[in-house]
């Protein structure tokens, strides 16, 4: 009814994907999120090990599945199983939750990249695989080319999307310690990797605005807080001050302040 809005694909979509991080919602909160915003959410991450320490996780996953979200547990939990040599237990765990999607990451542990790719290759037969690149520890750095190469290799190995690390705080991986975008790194990744295959973690509003201004309404974004999902969509649609004029035709720019 409102004209001149950016086009957005409907689910299941290939671009303009949004991944939410749930770090312990209850069932009523999950119902609320699903009822009001399921059309806006493609992936639902149960952050780090929160699924493991909370009750009612199975029931919650069911709610999300009923609303066509793909649900996965945070990569850190897989890493916890991996260092204990308990991969099979991990798979039994996520099967019991009913998850058909996995995140393969090495943000907290040293994992030779070939092993990571082999794991992606093995898991892709039974699951949708997302893999994440970038360390949670800001003292561990890769050069820009390494980021881009790793992502390409993981997509080749079988990841459906590669995720660019930012943590929940938005102060690691592709961001500096104040949450500011590492522009060189991000441009380097964009040169090497197909845009539709990257999910940029962007928990802070300033980061969401930056990516939408840079790459458009349909950039893939992740680690969005459940309470910010409608607000993010308004940024994508130009229905909030920050991106109000970004998607309007030239002739309407006369209204610009």
């Amino acid at each position: 009814m409102l004209d001149l809005l950016p086009e957005r694909e409907k689910k299941p979509r290939r671009s303009g994907v949004t991944m939410v991080m749930d770090k312990g919602l209850g069932l009523r909160q999950a119902e609320d999120l699903a009822e009001t915003a399921a059309h806006l959410i493609d992936f639902l991450k149960l952050g780090f090990g929160t699924s493991y320490v909370s009750n009612k996780t199975v029931e919650k996953v069911k709610i999300y599945h009923q609303h066509q979200m793909k649900v996965f547990v945070g990569g850190t939990l897989l890493e916890a199983f991996l260092v204990r040599d308990q991969l099979d237990d991990y798979l039994r765990y996520i099967d019991a939750l009913g998850c058909d999607t996995v995140e393969v990451s090495d943000g907290s542990i040293r994992l030779p990249h070939e092993e990571k790719c082999n794991l992606i290759d093995r898991l892709k037969k039974d699951y949708t695989v997302l893999s994440e690149v970038g360390a949670k520890d800001c003292h561990v750095t890769m050069d820009n080319e390494q980021w881009s190469d790793a992502m390409q290799q993981e997509l080749s190995a079988g990841s459906s999307f590669v995720i660019a690390e930012a943590r929940e705080s938005g102060t690691a991986g592709i961001y500096g310690s104040e949450g500011e975008a590492d522009e060189d790194l991000i441009q380097c990744i964009r040169k090497g990797v197909s845009a539709d295959k990257i999910i940029w973690e962007a928990p802070l509003k300033q980061q969401q605005v930056w990516f939408i201004k840079q790459f458009g309404a349909n950039v893939n974004l992740g680690n969005i807080a459940p309470s910010e999902i409608a607000a993010l969509e308004t940024l994508r649609m130009g229905l909030r001050g920050d991106t109000f004029f970004d998607f309007l035709p030239e002739k309407l720019k006369k209204y610009k302040l």
Copy 2:
């Protein structure tokens, strides 16, 4: 039962008004808010364009109405309709939501002040009108007298209250980039405009404390997060550390640290 508390009017009240910003609550969260805090909430803003991108908005407005809150959609959404020359569509939209209150703002767009006042005058016949003064872009500045004059003119045109802009972040309009109050501006506004007619946006606790200390328990405040509504009331009542002694008689100041 607790003696010596500041007096607060009951709804519908003319002073001590609180306006909450909901940027995407679900129905259960809205029920929770209404059940526990309806007596504390006069106006309920569905922030910027969030009403437009979320499901279940009609049902949510009903819940708020059942609890005697006046509900309106954020002024940014009106601005989005205005620049597209779709005012009639906007009115159909809010009528379909069941809203009897509108916010007229020009925080993101250039709107000649006479046109803004004409719009207020037109809308006041069918709606309670709130109008907002101040730009969302901190590079756009008005001098203090302009703020005060604009508010007086909008009240004359038919606004029930004028809202002083701060954004959701509390770092624009009447605040500096660290969220600190622009005291000269605020005093200038207070000189020109009747205190009961101004709603000060004050999303940050430090701002709420500042206004309550400055103008008393019954200052009108806006852009309060739903999760902070009870906490704000304790600040108004002197039931939190920050304002504990502000409303106590002199003889009890002996307990002061």
Copy 3:
């Protein structure tokens, strides 16, 4: 199923205690919290005066009690009754709420320490008593020995636990203005007071991480936001990046980044 996790006692527990601060949750949010995380929550504080200004508090306390949490109202509310010479009204108030636990604090008022200890002694006959040490005003300071002595005396007087003040913001009491731990003070307290008897307020994640790294998975922590309770448990268990290797045996450190 995941091996090599730190051991955690079950409720009712003597160490590894967690105290949550609720500053206005509704009944559905309270049910959500209880259903998903009751096993992780020992004490539930209704922050400062929020219980007094909200509706449905009696019903909410019932929900928490059904899930074996000990519920108390914030010490600031007791202080508000105390300065008005209304202690009996306070006790009637918490009895009407159904609370069997009280917090005795002097964070906002001047209360001779002997009087505080006498009050603890009086209340311990009918209630579980928690007492808090530390001022909410960062300009009011005690030297480190005074903190430690006060805590020991309050435990002797009858407190079940002593709480080290931090406010909701985490920027007072045992922390500096940036939320950083006052290490000298904390070590001094630890020397004088039995570890299991102290609840450290630690609302910020950096503070939770600091205490867990310093004193282990089973340090007692308080003023945890309801939305952070599962996340805190992952920090205690080494299931989040920040403490991933803290509880793993030496031989697994080869995986360290």
